[in-house]
Symmetry: C2
Subunit: 185 residues, 2 copies
């Protein structure tokens, strides 16, 4: 998986060949083909591997104030979990490239849909808990969770595709000032 | 340009060959190469052509209420201008595919940055006018314009990459309920 990551980072998704992955770990194309049914199968496994690392790294204090918890969750999505910043954006580069390509790919679309739902639900759950505790007013938690998840996704893409280096810092500030404020009861 | 559009829609950006474009208008590869410096040059012209059609189609009543104007502008971005719905999403498919690929492409990145700024500025201008007229409270218009532009972009991508058919209708509703509300003085 690490060799695949290095190879995709270097060559990009569309230009990647199985031999490039082999070259990153000094294994032959044949050995890789023994374990995976070609480039596509290997990349699907890789995508699941990347997503799992993100999902496994969520750690938010359950006793904290729901607004602080929302902000921490959003920051973590945008600025990356425990990895070094460079690694986070190199991973996101591959993630976003495969995401755009998922319109042609039912299997990847399903993986991305699962991950999208996972992120949205983790935000919706915090909003719902806040509403239940009376800290937040009664909002459509799913609609707001979608809105926040959309901003996270777009800020990542802007950073990568358009080179807006400050997008991952500005987006959480905009969400806090202009979206989360509307949660106050 | 129409032949290019049909060819990209059908074959996708990465698999497109100049001969596919020629086939759409019964011209030879050679004739196209006489006018364009290869596939890449042709696609850059195509991207500018698509964007120009969107930019040219903005028509908002300058005398209207600024919140209604913002909503109309957002709807127009998400649901498309005067074209039929099918055409709008076929165009957006090509737009989003080239957008994700712009991380590898300085020239396209510049075109997308110009278009991003155009959309953001058209939203910022309405917010600023509303603040000046005292209808809106004093907000950081650029930060909020960015937030709204991000949601527009992400809702398009979700519709296309993840197949969320209702995203283009839900996103404007979420913006209106949870972002524009915070503009009230």
């Amino acid at each position: 998986m690490k060799a695949t990551f290095r190879a995709v980072s270097e060559h990009g998704y569309t230009d990647l060949r199985v031999r490039d992955i082999g070259a990153e770990m000094e294994l032959s194309r044949q050995v890789i083909h023994y374990h995976f049914d070609g480039k596509y199968d290997l990349l699907s496994s890789f995508l699941e591997y990347v997503i799992e690392q993100y999902e496994g790294s969520v750690a938010i204090d359950p006793g904290s104030d729901p607004r602080a918890e929302l902000n921490a969750r959003i920051d973590q999505c945008l600025l990356g979990p425990e990895f070094a910043e460079f690694i986070h954006w190199e991973r996101m580069k591959v993630y976003c490239e495969l995401f755009a390509y998922a319109q042609h790919d039912e299997e990847h679309r399903e993986i991305f849909n699962d991950h999208y739902e996972y992120i949205r639900e983790s935000i919706v759950a915090i909003i719902e808990a806040g509403v239940e505790d009376g800290v937040f007013r009664d909002v459509d938690a799913i609609l707001m969770g979608q809105l926040i998840t959309d901003v996270i996704h777009a800020a990542r893409e802007r950073r990568l595709a358009l080179g807006h280096e400050s997008a991952p810092e500005e987006a959480p500030r905009a969400i806090d000032e202009y979206v989360l404020d509307s949660l106050l009861a």
